[in-house]
């Protein structure tokens, strides 16, 4: 047999082997998440997974670490097939969880909510993003997912640099500007920003939310009315002002979050506005200076929400086990564990947390959530708005878009979708 034939034989054989699926004999429980193994969530969930495995020796527990990229792109396709697992982490919001819930791809969890006792641990505020109606809009309807952690955007700052400049974390926007001016006078660009990524739109939204009231947030997130651009206009004008004054570098339009974070962690920039997802990596990589975070001064609303959801696909073969898993991660033991790993546990008592990072983060989250100040994320109302905001952001920072044009363009996209509701 010449090499060509041999090759063909090998290829055909391997093909046949590949196309056959292996049938497991015992019960198989498939669980997915996309938490980095060394993140607070990742460490906690993996620990819980170990306990879960020991508690169920008769079950083969298959854990797969997925990439966010894949779930983002083909999440609904996967849920619409036999390849969906028994329980998985899914992104909260209308565009993601809402969409698949409205298509009937998720199992409603209302019964488990009562029978597993989650109603004793979570309050109504924690459930806002768990419920979706038949149009896929959050806030009402069946419970389709459970969140076990929280997240919010704040300003990370370099305590040492602040001390050296004789500055304190601001309690008003004006104080914040004064702090930035002080740094600018020393020739340091105060704020690191990754406009190509989330930190651009998160800063924008944080500023916008300082001018938002309950009605605005409700309408904005719920697609209830055409966009009232006033808060965004304020935010855009402020940002352009800050770029012109040199508080934010014009280079930020080419920077991803990781580049901006690098500026912060290497001690070049004293401030970086981003979310609690950085806590884990900052804890382990910042060794050269004292660091902390302050809440962006706001009357009520901050950018933040309850975390990603555990959802159970409609075709899950082990919904009871799935519910047990959710209970495990919601249990006081693992909520405390999450806090001690530096994560923002949704239902932990800060007093029981020993890790200062986690303790502080949970306290802040509870404070924001306590006054119902979670304004959620700016890109949620409209599918694809994330890209729109990034695109327009960069135009704003570059100076190719005026604040008015910026608002006009994001309004157009928003209104288009809103009117076709």
């Amino acid at each position: 047999m010449n090499s060509l034939s041999k090759l063909t034989l090998v290829a055909t054989t391997s093909l046949m082997l590949l196309s056959s699926t292996a049938f497991a004999q015992q019960k198989v429980f498939n669980i997915w998440d996309f938490e980095a193994a060394d993140s607070s969530n990742g460490i906690t969930f993996n620990k819980a997974l170990e306990e879960f495995k020991t508690a169920h020796p008769d079950v083969t527990v298959n854990f797969q670490l997925k990439t966010f990229q894949q779930l983002q792109a083909s999440g609904s396709m996967i849920l619409n097939s036999d390849q969906a697992p028994d329980v998985l982490e899914y992104n909260k919001g209308n565009a993601t969880a809402g969409l698949v819930a409205s298509q009937g791809l998720l199992l409603p969890l209302d019964d488990y909510y009562k029978s597993q006792g989650w109603d004793k641990i979570l309050n109504e505020g924690d459930l806002v993003l768990s419920k979706y109606d038949d149009k896929g809009i959050y806030g009402s309807g069946h419970i389709y997912g459970i969140s076990v952690y929280g997240e919010y955007v704040s300003c990370f700052y370099n305590i040492d640099m602040f001390d050296k400049a004789g500055l304190k974390p601001p309690t008003t926007i004006d104080e914040w500007v004064a702090d930035m001016e002080a740094f600018k006078k020393q020739g340091i660009t105060p704020l690191a920003l990754g406009a190509v990524d989330t930190s651009g739109q998160h800063l924008l939204a944080s500023l916008a939310y300082t001018k938002a009231d309950d009605t605005w947030i409700k309408n904005y997130q719920g697609l209830k009315a055409p966009l009232d651009g006033a808060p965004y206009l304020y935010a855009a004008q402020t940002l352009v002002d800050w770029v012109n004054k040199g508080y934010i570098s014009k280079d930020s339009t080419g920077m991803k979050d990781q580049d901006a974070a690098l500026l912060y962690t290497s001690g070049k920039a004293p401030m970086y506005v981003s979310g609690t997802w950085n806590l884990g990596s900052f804890s382990s990589t910042i060794k050269t200076f004292k660091w902390g975070q302050f809440v962006i001064p706001t009357p009520k609303y901050s950018v933040g929400s309850t975390g990603n959801l555990w959802v159970v696909p409609k075709g899950s073969k082990n919904p009871d086990l799935a519910a047990e898993w959710i209970s495990l991660t919601l249990s006081p033991k693992y909520q405390t564990e999450l806090g001690n790993n530096g994560g923002v546990a949704i239902a932990a008592d800060p007093a029981t947390i020993t890790n200062p990072v986690g303790k502080n983060a949970i306290a802040v989250f509870n404070q924001i959530a306590g006054k119902s100040g979670l304004g959620f994320y700016p890109d949620w109302p409209v599918p694809g708005y994330y890209d729109v905001l990034n695109q327009k952001d960069t135009g704003l920072f570059q100076g190719t878009l005026t604040p008015e044009q910026f608002v006009e363009q994001i309004k157009k996209v928003y209104d288009d979708v809103q009117s076709s509701q």
């Binding site: 792109a73 609904s76 190509v196 920077m255 991803k256 409209v382 599918p383 694809g384 960069t394 190719t400």
Partner: protein, 302 residues
């Protein structure tokens, strides 16, 4: 003997059998999906559930979609970096390596160079995106080097500035594409009779003249194939934009394939994405036909 073959017509018909697997594959993977996509372009659909018929609304929307028209213009610009520049560099470099370097330094050296230039072709595009991201970031390698050698003024916001984003992506594309052109051209060069070059040299023709009057005309078949394939690839361009700029800043590097992807998977407006794909396909076919006609005419006059 004649009986074994039959009539010529019969004989020819027998070959149709060999086309059967290809035909099945083509129908399943290309024809049916394309038709499905065409039909979907007249609907509103979220990727799950049932599509809703809306007629030509998607196409009407397309006419006023700035992102779409921008993507068309950008494609034309990317043709430069995907086709024209790599082909040009490929021909010159192939000639250099094959004639000059190979004579003066031996075949192994020239092969080594060829391998090196081809290396970017075999890199997974996701990896290339990360590497070039490090180079082109405003705090990245390029600017650091510029500042270090005193040319700080040249430092730009390569990816984040609308003026520079497209050229930056183009640079990465050229980096990837040159290898493909080079390898094909170098192979083609080895079938040219060197006595032609000899004769030209004796007539006093310099390297440049030899390139233009001998190399390029004789390399024409390879040039046509490479140009056509890179042209089609330029029209389909997706991955470099996806990994480097995500079509930014503010749509400065948007291309039709990315727009389709965006509407298929992010906004979940599958019907609209389908319409974009249909238009893209039509334009690609049109361009390819024009090019093939041109090629046929060129080769007819030889």
């Amino acid at each position: 003997m004649a009986g074994a073959i039959g009539t010529y017509a019969q004989h020819r018909r027998g070959y149709y059998l060999y086309l059967v697997p290809g035909a099945i594959g083509f129908t399943l993977i290309v024809l049916i999906p394309q038709i499905a996509n065409f039909v979907l372009s007249f609907t509103a659909w979220k990727g799950v559930g049932t599509p809703r018929w809306i007629g030509v609304q998607n196409y009407q929307k397309l006419l006023t979609d700035d992102q779409f028209w921008g993507s068309m213009i950008h494609t034309l610009m990317f043709i430069v970096s995907m086709t024209i520049i790599p082909v040009a560099i490929g021909v010159v470099l192939a000639s250099l390596l094959f004639d000059y370097v190979r004579d003066q330094f031996g075949e192994r050296v020239s092969n080594l160079f060829r391998a090196g230039f081809y290396l970017p072709q075999i890199l997974p595009i996701t990896t290339a995106g990360v590497l070039w991201g490090w180079i082109l970031s405003p705090v990245g390698v390029a600017n650091i080097v510029f500042k270090a050698i005193g040319l700080g003024g040249l430092a730009q916001n390569w990816i984040g500035d609308a003026t520079w984003a497209l050229p930056s992506v183009s640079l990465m594309i050229v980096w990837i594409q040159v290898g493909y052109c080079l390898v094909v051209f170098m192979a083609g060069l080895s079938r040219i009779d060197p006595s032609l070059y000899e004769a030209a040299q004796l007539d006093g023709a310099g390297w440049g003249q030899r390139l233009v009057s001998i190399t390029i005309p004789l390399l024409a078949p390879e040039i046509f194939v490479v140009t056509l394939t890179t042209l089609i690839a330029a029209l389909k361009l997706f991955a470099p934009v996806f990994v480097l700029t995500a079509a930014g800043p503010d749509n400065a590097t948007m291309v039709p394939s990315y727009l389709t992807y965006y509407h298929f998977f992010t906004t979940q407006r599958v019907g609209y994405g389908g319409a974009i794909a249909v238009v893209q396909m039509i334009l690609t076919v049109a361009l390819a036909v024009i090019f093939l006609r041109f090629q046929a005419r060129q080769q007819a006059t030889e």
